[in-house]
Each structure stands twice: as structure tokens, then as C-alpha cells.
Amino acid sequence: MPAVSFQHVSKIFPSPRGDLHALKDVSFDVQPGEFFGLLGPNGAGKTTLISILAGLTRASSGRVLVHGKDVQADYQAARRQLGVVPQELVFDPFFNVREALRFQSGYFGIRHNEAWINELLDGLGLADKAGSNMRQLSGGMKRRVLIAQALVHKPPVIVLDEPTAGVDVELRQTLWQFISDLNKRLGSTVLLTTHYLEEAEALCGRLAMLKQGQVVALESTSVLLARAASNVLRFKTDATLPPELAAQARITGRVVQLPANDAHAVERVLARLRELGVVAQDIEIRKADLEDVFLELTGSHVRPATPVLALDEVDV
């Protein structure tokens, strides 16, 4: 039985300017013990899908099962199996860390959870903050508490929605070590959404990519990587690229990256640049990574006019 099963899930948000189809017939399974990544650009529907799984939002059609339990019809059984780390950095200002964790255990009907709470506090580097009020904690510390809160009832399925957004490198390391450990030691299933593709590449055995509410890829990470152009030509330039190159390029400030599988492709690009009098500096050729696959599949390499503003928008 799959740990999580999405079956023909659709979600429509009615709006005066026309209905928004946030999810269109999404179906896939996550197997027990998997470390599964859910990727997609902002607005692709990742958070909506997680919200339906967590019971925060209802699907317009289709259903979601957690270890065979329907998240609507059998919500109590489903939620006992789920530990969800929300994307927003939320906290209850009335309580300290230990109180927050005790109450969260209580909501799941668990008494005397101190041993596990202490283990969580130690594992997440929160032991010396146990008595601190939530308001006094830094953003990173609050994020750790969110993770601890999601794990108080030892859920077999852990769902992390953008857990490392705005988190420093050190915390990212601690966090992934902790989650990977749970995945390996306890066999917990992990479902993760992230913007950091190198993270997904390093951690997830299998990935689903969403684009405009639809699954555009569902494969093991290694197969997906193999699907990408195997090499990428990378250079820096101050000039504007001609449209035919810009259309397939990944442009980050001055850095341009173009798929180039073989010597001919590299030559073609360089010849075109020379023809236009474009100066290219620091030219190199590297192996394709997940980001290349991602851009190829989601078509996001055609950048909007103001990409920076769109980066941190909350998913619908």
C-alpha cells in the first residue's frame, strides 16, 4: 500500500475574474520509506496539493489517501500518520518551546511524551531553548520548532513544504541530517517541496514536477537527470542575447547557460555570438543538473520581465 496516494486530484478556486484551476487531475503515489521531492515553479500548485493532503484545503474532485486512509472521510486516522511542516513561519506567542511541543502531543492524545520531545529538542539543536518563549526565537530557531511540532506524534509520513526557504546553510545541514536520519533509521516516508534543486538532487530518490497544476514529470532522480541535455555551455556577458538563443538560455544576471550536447552545438552558439559581436567571458562546459531538467520541462527558461519579484511569491 502506498504511503501517500493522490488520485485524480483537481482543485478549482472560484474567482470573479474566472476560475483558477490550481490542480488538474494530479495522480501519483509515494511508497513507504521513500524520500520524494515535489518540484515546480511558484504557482504550480505544490502548496495546494500539500494542503489537500494535510486537510487544510478540500479537493474539488479526486481523493488523497495516507496509508489507505482517506484524508477527508477518515481524517482522524489520516492525520495521525502525517507530520506536516507548514511553509509559513508561524508560532503561538503565549508559550515556550516545551509547552508548544507538549500541547501538540496532547492534541494527538499523547501523554508523557517527554522522552521523545527531549530527543527532538536535542536532534534539532533546541535543547537550550526549551524554556524560551516562541517570540524570543530567531527565524531559524522558529523553523526548527515547526519541524519538532510536526514530529511530536512520530508520524510515519513527514511532509515538508519549502522547509529551507530563507534558512542559513548551517541549519539546512542540521535539518537534512535529522530528516535523512529519520528516513533511514525509522523508515519514515518523506515528501518534500523545495526550490533548492541541488537539495532535491542530493536527497530525493524520486521526483514529481508540477507545472500549472499538472504533473509534467514523475521519475527517479537519476532518470530525470539523464533526460536532460548532458552538457551545458556557461559564459558571462553584458550584451543582450539574440531571441533564438535567449529562448533556450538560463540567464542569471550576467551568467548565461545554454544546453549544448556536443562540440557542434558549442560551435554553433559561439559562432552566432561572434557574428553578433557579443563578448563572452569565462566560458566553461559543465554537466547538466536538475535545474536544467526542471527548466526544460517546465519551460521556465523563458524568464518573465521581472523575475526577481516573482521569486518569493506564495503558492496558491
Binding site: 494535510a54 482522524q76 508561524v90 508560532f91 500541547f103
Partner: protein
């Protein structure tokens, strides 16, 4: 500990941690009302023939404090959790809508009774109303607090910001409590306003509560009990329905 007990305890601890604001402040306000109105009106107004004004006012103020604080507890807790976003910690749990209801309304009753007892103890020095039928006092205090706790829960679910909550409190709850006969017997009103007062459910809560002290009231306590009971059942049914359907908390 079952889930609802954890939430119930959390809700009590929440208001207790800011007890100055949630318990001590309303007690002080009630004492001020009693001192000022008692000073101005004692000796000039007699109610039910023999009852002095301060003694008459005291139960009214106690009940008003019970009702206002029961409402404030569930409504402010819910709207704060929604605005802060920490309601998600509850939404992710297996707690049923009944568990939510019992915990939010139960903690409102506790706060209402805590403030009411505080007002009663603090004002005992000014006047000692008799305690003719203590059971009626307890019954009306508990039912009234539960009714306002459930109403607060509905208001908290409905309001999306503090502004809307303040409007609900100031334009509905405050006028209904002030015009319910806390400060006067409705028999002192012109016929028309007596009729209007009979449409206000708050009137029956105050009147029934006061019956427990003096054994005299504007209407029969059984009538008051029936009306308060029906109102509580109706408001509770609505609150439970809103919680079950996730009104404004699940999309």
C-alpha cells in the same frame, strides 16, 4: 489525556498567562461601575420594593462580567490564531469539531466564572445581596457563559481581522448587555421599551441570574431558563456546523 483536554488546558493557560488583562482588569472595571453608580443612586432607587440599588446592581455586574469575558475569551483566541496563522497547528491534528467546541467553549466558561467570582468577592464589601436560590445562580452563570463562549467562537471564525471583531463586540455584544437590565429593572421602563427588552436574550440571562439572589425577578426564572437553553442549543448547533464545515478556516 485526550485531544480535547489538551486544547482545553491550553486555552485556559493562554488567558491565565495574561491574567492581569483577562481577569484582574475586568474585576477592577466592575468595581468602578459599582462604586460610581452605587454612590450616585443608592438611597434614590429601590428595586422590587425593598432591595437597595447597590445590592440590586451587584448581581447584574457579576453576570455582565461573566458574559463579556466568556465572549472575549473564545473570540479573541480564535481571531488571534487566525491572524497569527498558528491555527494551523490545530488544523493539522485529528481533533474533531466537537473537541474544538468543547475546549473553546469550556475555557470561556472557566474564564467567565473566574472573572464573575472575582467581581463577586471584590464587591462583597460594598453590599451583600442575599443568596436565596444558589442553584439558579450557578445554572445561569454556566449557561450564560457557555452561550457567550459559543457566540464568541462563531464571531472568531467569522472575523478575518481585529477590526471586524471589535465591531461585533461594540455594536452587538455591548449594547445587548448594557440594555439587558444590568443597571435597572425593566419594570422602570416605559411599556414600549419593556417589550423591546423582552426580545433581548441577554435580559433573560441577567434576570434569571438575579432571581437566584433575591428570589424575585422581572419574569419567571423558568421562562428565562427555557429561553437561554434554546438560545444556547441554537448557537451551539451553528458553531458546531461552522467548525465541521471548516468555515473560513479550511478552504
Amino acid at each position: 489525556m485526550s485531544g480535547w483536554q489538551a486544547l482545553f488546558y491550553k486555552e485556559i493557560l493562554r488567558f491565565w498567562k495574561v491574567g492581569f488583562q483577562t481577569v484582574a482588569a475586568p474585576v477592577i472595571t466592575a468595581i468602578l461601575y459599582l462604586m460610581i453608580f452605587g454612590h450616585v443612586l443608592e438611597g434614590r432607587v429601590q428595586v422590587y420594593g425593598t432591595v437597595g440599588y447597590t445590592a440590586f446592581l451587584l448581581p447584574g455586574l457579576v453576570m455582565m462580567s461573566v458574559l463579556q469575558n466568556a465572549f472575549a475569551n473564545s473570540s479573541s483566541s480564535m481571531v488571534q490564531s487566525k491572524v497569527m496563522g498558528n491555527l494551523v497547528f490545530l488544523l493539522l491534528t485529528p481533533l474533531s469539531h466537537r473537541a474544538w467546541f468543547v475546549a473553546y467553549v469550556g475555557s470561556s466558561v472557566v474564564r467567565g466564572l473566574a472573572v464573575g467570582s472575582g467581581v463577586m468577592l471584590a464587591t462583597w464589601w460594598f453590599a451583600q445581596p442575599s443568596l436565596v436560590a444558589p442553584l439558579w445562580i450557578v445554572v445561569f452563570a454556566v449557561l450564560g457563559a457557555a452561550l457567550l463562549g459559543a457566540l464568541g467562537l462563531i464571531a472568531g471564525l467569522w472575523a478575518e481581522k481585529f477590526d471586524q471583531m471589535a465591531a461585533f463586540q461594540n455594536f452587538i455584544i455591548m449594547p445587548m448587555t448594557f440594555l439587558s437590565g444590568v443597571f435597572y429593572s425593566i419594570h422602570s421602563l416605559p411599556e414600549f421599551w419593556q417589550q423591546v427588552s423582552h426580545l433581548n436574550p441577554f435580559f433573560y440571562m441577567i434576570d434569571g441570574f438575579r432571581y437566584g439572589f433575591f428570589g424575585v425577578s422581572d419574569v419567571s426564572p423558568w421562562l428565562s431558563l427555557s429561553i437561554v437553553g434554546v438560545a444556547l442549543a441554537g448557537v451551539s448547533a451553528l458553531a458546531l456546523y461552522l467548525l465541521r464545515t471548516g468555515y473560513k478556516i479550511r478552504h
